[in-house]
Symmetry: C4
Subunit: 227 residues, 4 copies
Amino acid sequence: MVTGTGPASARGSSAEHRGRLSDSARVEAFSDGVFAIAITLLVLDLRAPAEHSQESWLNQLLHQWPGYLAYLASFGYIAVIWVNHHQLFTRIAAVDLGLLWRNLGVLLGASVLPFPTAVLSGAFLDGRRPNEVTSIVLYTLVAAFMAFTWLVLFHHLARNDRLLVTGTPAVFFATERRRALLGVLAYLVAAAVAVWQPLASLLIICALPVFYGATSEGWHGVPNRRL
Amino acid sequence: MVTGTGPASARGSSAEHRGRLSDSARVEAFSDGVFAIAITLLVLDLRAPAEHSQESWLNQLLHQWPGYLAYLASFGYIAVIWVNHHQLFTRIAAVDLGLLWRNLGVLLGASVLPFPTAVLSGAFLDGRRPNEVTSIVLYTLVAAFMAFTWLVLFHHLARNDRLLVTGTPAVFFATERRRALLGVLAYLVAAAVAVWQPLASLLIICALPVFYGATSEGWHGVPNRRL
Amino acid sequence: MVTGTGPASARGSSAEHRGRLSDSARVEAFSDGVFAIAITLLVLDLRAPAEHSQESWLNQLLHQWPGYLAYLASFGYIAVIWVNHHQLFTRIAAVDLGLLWRNLGVLLGASVLPFPTAVLSGAFLDGRRPNEVTSIVLYTLVAAFMAFTWLVLFHHLARNDRLLVTGTPAVFFATERRRALLGVLAYLVAAAVAVWQPLASLLIICALPVFYGATSEGWHGVPNRRL
Amino acid sequence: MVTGTGPASARGSSAEHRGRLSDSARVEAFSDGVFAIAITLLVLDLRAPAEHSQESWLNQLLHQWPGYLAYLASFGYIAVIWVNHHQLFTRIAAVDLGLLWRNLGVLLGASVLPFPTAVLSGAFLDGRRPNEVTSIVLYTLVAAFMAFTWLVLFHHLARNDRLLVTGTPAVFFATERRRALLGVLAYLVAAAVAVWQPLASLLIICALPVFYGATSEGWHGVPNRRL
């Protein structure tokens, strides 16, 4: 396309610019949709007590406490991922096909999480230890896979700085990659702990999103960049 | 960042401005997604009659009336919350990490609501009074928790007016905090009533969103501010 | 608010303008979310055959044909409603509290539709005629309620032209109100027909969205207005 | 439309422009919502093991492997469709009623996919060969229908270049129509293979989205157009 000079040319280049922004905007909107649905579908793992059961509903509801912990752990994990995703995309200026597929990997991890959450919640209701161990190991493997998809995404961005907003500090991805790698390792440790002590592992699973949330740069970065 | 004068500087400052707006926009979009999904998932608590059952489907459907009441109460509650959320964010200019996490608390309350709704609907179908009491108490505790998350959110905003649009009246948060506190108390009263009379408590639960909707400033505020 | 002259004042008035547009934008985004979720949740009414059943899955799947019809009728109905909603909001310039609550009524109708769809689909699988009649009557009453919420919405807009984009023809709401009223009546007729002949009523239910889609002004209006 | 000169005219033409953009924007937002929900609802097809069952949960989870394959195949298929949809809409400048209904056809295909995925996953758990064949044939027919809806959409756009962004190469739709037709044929071949060898057909179903993803122009096209 040959462009002239003056206002018309300026409009053309602004349209191109918008085109690229719009790419990033639609990836963000689709990702937000998947995160919002996955975080809300978790509630289907909490089950109403069985009708016509002899046991009182109060007992049945109290008995379901590991399900509530699993619900909170998964809600927190997806919430932290959404915060990180938002923070990351304030630094992304353009989307290429490689970033697109790696982002779909992140979405796969988030949208599959209600499944191991339901298994974990069911296993602790069932109450037999081998099943509890199985369910915790499944949960931690899926959670480790989620952290791994972030590692892959950060690695792609660290090698393609043409996709980034000008002025993104080089140290940013080094830090974020380290956090993602730590996540993979922490969930694998939780898997190993589960074999000896499933409840201890469940506590680690609940604590990890809190830790990530507390150390997240998150929205802090935006005011900082204004300095 | 040291910025020069002229067009380049203007673009820089406009980009910063957009950056901050975009923060708020994505928080609103994600919240809208969660509210829209939670309000629509409520329909899964309404169950088709059991096939091959001896009882006529007409009777089974009519017998499910407490489920319809619970559905309407929860639909109304989330609708009111969405209206308030929209109203609030027309007054928010920037999002910090504290606001972000408190907003996620509000979303946790909204997205968990289909669970106590299902329990309440099931308990009145089941028909044994202790289970009805249990289900109403569960519902009111979750609803009180939702009102409490708003109290926490308003408290944060009242102490961080740098996050607000210039010109937001100081009286705004005083009024809103009082409404949130009233919500917490009203649902706790409904919990206490449930122990004596579950049906009366169910009526309170249905009436509260109507009351909040009717007294909501809501979209009224926008034309007012144009005066 | 006393506003000065010059750039600062222009920015202020543009912010007010954006404020109002943003109102309408967020109502549209929330409504789109509810429509998108309701139309997609319908798929949960289609059930995989029972495992370990003696009957072949081919037979079970073929036997479920009324469920497919009900799915298509509800998908078509929500699709038509979304098209109409979009068309309507291209004519709306501002949102007041009355419009907001009436719009939530429209969303209530759309988001509850998966329930009568599931009942209808189950009743024809069950195969006993009284249950089929019950399910069709339930479906048509909900569908008539949906058309009625549109009537209420159009009535409000016809009496509040300050909410409308300048240049909206007066005849627009007269036509649309007539279409909504026709919808209420058509679904009530289908309810009456169901008592004698449920299958004939099911065909009417499938035909109505096709008729509404074919006569919808829809996106046609936009190019027309450019003339 | 006869337009005058000066600021008022400029505002009028910009409003028209926004009107058209907004049409396309809301179609994209609604489609993104449906794709995001359909891709996330797939997780409901993965089932937690039955409580109080004698078989260990580890065995039950491992036994569910065809369900995981079906989940990944459907996730990949909807992801590829979303990428293609995004790519297509960067080339669309206006939306007419014909495009709108054809797009709803595409959404119908995407939102019904969790149903054959659940049937396929259940049939391989059930383990009887005739049911496996039935489920694969159902899946491939739905997937072929999805590819067919794209063929219909591309055909409409190839004949209505007034809807397209200026400068879209004529060869674009020829290529895309060929890809859609190939998709229809490939899924019909997979249906035929299923009768002899269901597992081979399942592998084809898993491979097709990978193939489509790898050959997708996707986001590549955007930088190219800037040359």
